[in-house]
Structure formats: structure tokens, C-alpha cells
């Protein structure tokens, strides 16, 4: 006990030297706390993204690759049935599947924005084969999981009513509702634009404010079809969309998201869906470009934080080792005196170790406090810079993107278009980081302690005392 008391007193007696040691330890611990929390927080977000976007398989026609393979002229067997898609969704490799589909609709019971208000839905156009079809006026968009409608919460939010849930419920934009005097609970009727004998009667269960661009896609810079106006979208459930017995050949465009249990198993999954009849004109792929774009700044920051931490730990350890070496040498005389008074070697070592532990414990507490206080602003700063750089690069390279049209759809070769880098990070000092920091502190203390103890056990008290005289 008195050894501890004495160690405590020694902290004050040798304040100058101890402040130096504490400052170095504090610097090491604080920067380790900062870098480690940033590293862990970034890793966690990247993991989350990897489990979502990073494990999300899309099955679709890749016109670029079709063209490269000389397949872009082929129209045979490109239409998969809904049952095919159900079969693809039934796999042990998958965690979940979000079914989503879209389809152009036509209605003469309500007027779409930018349509002719005096005669809604009455426009006709050529079908390209000599016939005449009615021009579509709206787009039905459906999903089996409304929580994945990414724009809700950012650019769109429901201002009255609620999100669709039951069969034949839908939500529409405030503009569309206002134009037609549609109120909550009203029923709107429409039909498919390509096959016209399938009808929908949808109850408007929610109305949302919409801040998206009416024509966000640059394809519609000059020609702005009514049906592509985003205010004319009618959002409903996947079940509702296919309830009228629709098939893919009727213009239903299915774009399911298949989430793998293990993102590395994408090739196994592909083998499985190929064996279930997926033609080679369809691609099975995780959107790596999008994943890289979203996680790019984060993983860059994570790497930088980790590198910085390693450098700090290496340099810090060397400096700490040197300082402890000098500190104990400086205390040689004190060691000699204690030994001459009959204090055993091990107890002298214990006393010096106790001092180191006390300094380390203090630095640990301070370091955790300071580190956790500054980690968030530092992380925000680092990420902000990286996101800005990534966006500037993206803007520069975007000019070179090509656009392809095929089968009434358009694609660009920038698969990451529409994705933005993750720019939010929540740095929190969790139990994991605290444990890791404690282990690092323990290692540092052990290092300083081992140096001290090794030196002390080499000292012969008489030699020390004589040297001094």
C-alpha cells in the first residue's frame, strides 16, 4: 500500500518528467482514439453498404454488353415471365428480394401534368408498325417494400394520408392531385398503355410533396413526354401492379433487387439463375461501380485513419520507449537509495510500474474524453473533403458517358449514375473502441514498464550510490 502512496507522491515530486511522459502518452492515446473510432465507424458504414448496395444483385439487360457480344439486335426470348422472376427470387443464396416493377399507364379519367387539360389522354401516336396507339400519360411504379423508395424522406414526403400498404392503394403527387381535384380516398382509374384491356381502380391513400426534377433525366432535355414527368408517377405496391394479371410482355418492366446473404456468392447465384433459364442477354451483377462510388470517400478516409494510427503508434512507441529509458536512468540514484534501505528489487520495480500505470490510466481517461470529443468534427471534415473531391472527379468524367437506347429503354455506361458518395458518418465511442484503446494503453504501459523493470533489475545499489559520490 505504501508503495502506491509513494508512487502517487512521486508523480508530484517529479512533475516535470511525468508531464512529459503523460503528454506523449496522451497524444498517442488521443490520436489512436480518434483514428480508431473513425476507422471503426467508417468500417461499420461500409459493412452496412456492403450488405445492402454491395450485396444487391440486379438482373437486367445490359445493352452495352449485348452490343459488344453482337446480341443487341436480338429480341427473342428477352421477355421473362413473372414466374421466372419468382424462381430467381427463390434461392438459398438470397437474404431477401425486393420486387419492383414499372409500367406506362393511360387514363382519360384524370389529366396528367403537361397533358392537354381539355381532352385528357386523347393524344395518339404511331406505334412504329403502321398502327396507332394511345400515348401513355403516367407511369405506375411499384415495389414490394415501400421503405426502399429512396426519395421518400429526402425529395419526397407524404403531406397527407399514408404510404400504400393494402391492395389497390396508391399515392400521388400534390400537383397531380391538385390538377384533378383528387382528395384522399378518391378512386382513380387507368389502364395499361400497351395492352389496354387491363384496368386498375386505385384508391388514393396518400399525397406527397415532390421536390424531384420533373424531368431529371437529361434524355428529356428537348422532348418531354407527359408520361416521363415525375409528377405523373403513381406509386403502388408490386402486388397491386401485377394483380390485373399483367405479364412482362405487356410492357411490365421488372427491376427486382436480389440481396445476397454473402456478397461474394454472386457467381454461384448467377449459375443458379442461368440454370433456371435466364438467357445470356441478361446480366447478373452487383453494381460494383455504384458501390465503389458510394463507399469511395469513406474507404479512403478509413485507410487514411488507419495509416495515421499505425504511424502514430509506431512513432509514439519509439518515443515513449526512449523517454521511459531516460526516465529510469535519471532515477537510478533514487533506486539505489531505496535498495540501500532494504527495499527489494521487485518492490522498487512495482513502485515504478505503479507510477507508469497511474500516468497511463489518467491519460486513458483524458484521451478517451478528448478523443471522443474531437473525433466527430475531424471525421466530418475528412469525409467532406473527400466527398468534394469525388464529386468533382465525377462531374469531370461524366461528360464522357455514352447513352444507349434499346427496346424502349435507355442506359448510360455510367452504372454509378444517380448514386452519390456516402457523406454522413456518426463517430461514436463504443465498447469495442474502448476495449481496443485499453489494450493499446496496456501494451504501451507494459512497454514502458518492462523497460523500467529491466533497467532496475540490472542496478546494483552500491554501484549506483558510489557512482554518484
Amino acid at each position: 500500500m505504501y508503495l502506491i502512496t509513494n508512487a502517487l507522491k512521486n508523480l508530484w515530486r517529479n512533475a516535470g518528467r511525468n508531464i512529459l511522459i503523460a503528454a506523449i502518452m496522451l497524444a498517442i492515446i488521443t490520436s489512436t482514439v480518434v483514428t480508431l473510432t473513425i476507422n471503426n465507424a467508417a468500417a461499420k458504414i461500409i459493412d452496412d453498404i456492403r450488405l445492402n448496395l454491395g450485396s444487391r444483385v440486379e438482373i437486367g439487360q445490359d445493352f452495352m454488353e449485348m452490343r459488344a457480344a453482337g446480341l443487341d439486335g436480338r429480341t427473342d426470348s428477352v421477355h421473362l415471365s413473372i414466374d421466372d422472376f419468382y424462381a430467381f427470387a427463390t434461392s438459398d443464396y438470397l437474404r431477401k428480394t425486393i420486387f419492383s416493377a414499372s409500367m406506362y399507364g393511360w387514363s382519360n379519367t384524370f389529366c396528367a401534368l403537361r397533358d392537354d387539360p381539355s381532352n385528357p389522354g386523347a393524344r395518339e401516336r404511331g406505334d412504329g408498325q403502321g398502327g396507332i396507339v394511345l400515348d401513355e400519360t403516367c407511369k405506375l411504379i411499384s415495389t414490394s417494400d415501400p421503405t426502399t423508395l429512396s426519395e421518400f424522406g429526402t425529395l419526397r414526403h407524404i403531406t397527407s394520408g399514408r404510404m400504400f400498404a393494402e391492395l389497390n392503394e396508391c399515392i400521388i403527387s400534390e400537383e397531380l392531385a391538385a390538377l384533378n381535384g383528387i382528395a384522399l380516398g378518391d378512386v382513380i382509374t387507368l389502364q395499361g398503355a400497351i395492352v389496354t384491356d387491363k384496368h386498375y381502380s386505385l384508391t388514393v391513400i396518400g399525397i406527397y410533396a415532390d421536390f424531384t426534377d420533373e424531368y431529371s433525366n437529361f434524355m428529356f432535355m428537348f422532348n418531354r413526354p407527359v408520361s416521363e414527368n415525375r409528377r405523373n408517377e403513381i406509386l403502388t405496391s408490386f402486388a397491386t401492379l401485377i394483380s390485373a394479371g399483367w405479364e412482362t410482355s405487356y410492357g411490365l418492366h421488372i427491376r427486382n433487387e436480389y440481396y445476397l446473404k454473402n456478397p461474394d456468392h454472386v457467381r454461384f447465384y448467377e449459375q443458379e439463375v442461368r440454370s433456371k433459364g435466364l438467357p445470356i442477354t441478361y446480366n447478373v451483377a452487383i453494381n460494383q461501380a455504384a458501390y465503389d462510388k458510394v463507399t469511395g470517400p469513406l474507404s479512403g478516409m478509413k485507410g487514411a485513419a488507419f495509416t495515421f494510427m499505425v504511424v502514430i503508434l509506431l512513432l509514439g512507441t519509439i518515443v515513449l520507449a526512449l523517454i521511459s529509458f531516460m526516465a529510469v536512468r535519471e532515477r537510478k540514484y533514487e533506486v539505489g537509495v531505496l535498495r540501500a534501505m532494504g527495499l527489494a528489487r521487485s518492490k522498487v520495480a512495482f513502485g515504478i510500474l505503479a507510477e507508469t500505470v497511474m500516468i497511463a490510466a489518467l491519460c486513458l481517461v483524458l484521451g478517451l474524453g478528448i478523443g471522443s470529443a474531437v473525433a466527430q468534427p475531424i471525421a466530418d471534415n475528412m469525409l467532406e473533403e473527400r466527398v468534394a473531391v469525388a464529386e468533382a472527379e465525377d462531374a469531370a468524367s461524366g461528360l464522357g458517358n455514352r447513352v444507349l437506347f434499346a427496346q424502349g429503354q435507355m442506359q448510360t455506361n455510367d452504372k454509378a449514375a444517380g448514386y452519390t458518395p456516402e457523406s454522413e458518418i456518426q463517430v461514436r465511442l463504443g465498447g469495442e473502441v474502448i476495449t481496443q484503446i485499453m489494450l493499446i494503453t496496456l501494451a504501451l504501459t507494459a512497454l514502458a514498464g518492462v523497460i523500467g523493470v529491466t533497467l532496475i533489475t540490472q542496478y546494483e545499489p552500491l554501484k549506483i550510490l558510489r557512482e554518484r559520490n
Partner: protein, 224 residues
């Protein structure tokens, strides 16, 4: 039986050719004051290092209460049995006089007394006021430091007191005070007090006086 006995003790410093002691036989008993006088460099401090177990004889043996000092736990011996007053004081200069003494008592495992009270008493006895007692040793004069060293050596009530030039820095008054303490310890409390010095004056309180010259001990008559 003698408390300390040197049997054919020889000593030579490691790496040195000069023999400091050769075949020395000496005995020290409880209840007596011994003074050992000799010129500078005669080997007085070396003898005390051997007697305190800080160093081990290169030949022969030193027995404490019949046990070979080289074979027993000498940390324990120094902490419990011996009180050493170093020529070079060897105080913790960054600590207060009081802390030096209390720490020494702690190392010796002193229990059953209020250590602070005992330390202050001892310091008072050697003429150090409580005010000076709580000063850092660095901020005390040479003579004051020497008296702190003496108080520290006595703090754990050792049966054997080994003093190396204990009055070297003291004025007459304090020298007398310290010598009186030694006399009381030996004659009233039955301790064995061994003082090495080149100051002849110190021999006044001695029961036995020995001179050390060229490695040879010769007894001198008391009162000379």
C-alpha cells in the same frame, strides 16, 4: 556472543589489484559503541558496506547473530536489523525529510506506532523542527540533511547502527547532540553502534576504538 563477527575477511574491489582487507578478524557486541578511525581511503566506508550487506566479502565470512550474512536475505537485514547512516547521506532529495523517514519505516514494516509522530519526534531529537521536517531535503543545509539521515537510520529502531562519518557536516553543538544519542542507544537501549570516522573527537564516546591502516585493524586505548 558477538552480534557481528568478521572471520578471516578479505576484500578487494572488482577489477582492482589493491587488497583493502586481508584476513580480518573482528567482533562487535550489543550495548557498545565502536569507532573505527583511519585516513581517507583507508577502507572505512568499504567496511561499512560489507557490514551492512550492501557488498559481500571476497574472502572469509561475516556473521550476524551466527548466520553468514552472504547467505541470508540482506534486503531484510538492512530493512529490519541495520540502520545505516551513509557518508554521502543518500536521501531522497525530492521528498520531504518527513517522507524520507516515513518511507524508511514503511520499507521496514514498522507497525503499531503513528509513523508521522515518531518521525517528528526523531527529527526533533536531532534538532530538526517540524517546519523543516516538511521541507524537501534539497532545501535543507548540509548539516540538516546529515541529521535527517541519522533520524532515518534510527526510524525503525534497528539493533545495529552503522554510521559513516555521521558528524562530518555538524557544528559542535549538533555533534554533541548526535553523539549523546548514540551513547544512549548503546548504553541504555543495548544497541550495537559502529561509527567510522577520521575525526578523533568522535572517539570520546567509544567503548572500543580501532584504527584501520593498510588493511590492518589495531585496537587503540580508550580515552587517548
Amino acid at each position: 556472543m558477538a552480534m557481528l563477527a568478521l572471520q578471516n575477511v578479505s576484500y578487494r574491489y572488482e577489477g582492482s589489484t589493491k587488497t583493502i582487507f586481508n584476513d580480518v578478524n573482528l567482533q562487535f557486541e550489543a550495548g557498545k559503541i565502536y569507532t573505527i578511525v583511519g585516513k581517507s581511503g583507508a577502507g572505512k566506508s568499504t567496511l561499512l558496506y560489507l557490514l551492512s550487506g550492501l557488498d559481500v566479502a571476497t574472502g572469509g565470512r561475516i556473521e550476524y547473530e551466527g548466520e553468514n550474512l552472504a547467505a541470508i536475505n540482506r534486503n531484510h537485514f538492512r530493512a529490519q536489523k541495520a540502520g545505516i547512516i551513509f557518508q554521502s547521506l543518500n536521501l531522497l532529495t525530492n521528498a520531504t525529510a518527513l517522507d524520507n523517514i516515513i518511507l524508511s519505516m514503511n520499507i521496514s514494516g514498522v507497525t503499531g506506532v503513528d509513523k508521522k509522530v515518531r518521525a517528528l519526534e526523531l527529527l526533533q531529537k536531532v534538532g530538526i523542527s517540524p517546519e523543516k521536517a516538511s521541507r524537501k531535503v534539497l532545501k535543507l543545509s548540509g548539516g540538516e540533511q546529515q541529521r535527517v539521515g541519522i533520524a532515518r537510520a534510527l526510524a525503525h529502531d534497528p539493533v545495529l547502527i552503522l554510521a559513516d562519518e555521521p558528524t562530518g557536516n555538524l557544528d559542535k553543538e549538533n555533534e554533541a547532540r548526535v553523539l549523546k544519542i548514540f551513547a544512549t542507544l548503546a548504553h541504555d537501549e543495548g544497541k550495537c553502534v559502529i561509527i567510522v570516522t577520521h575525526a578523533k573527537k568522535v572517539t570520546a564516546v567509544a567503548d572500543e576504538i580501532w584504527s584501520l591502516e593498510k588493511g590492518v585493524f589495531r585496537q587503540l586505548p580508550v580515552g587517548k
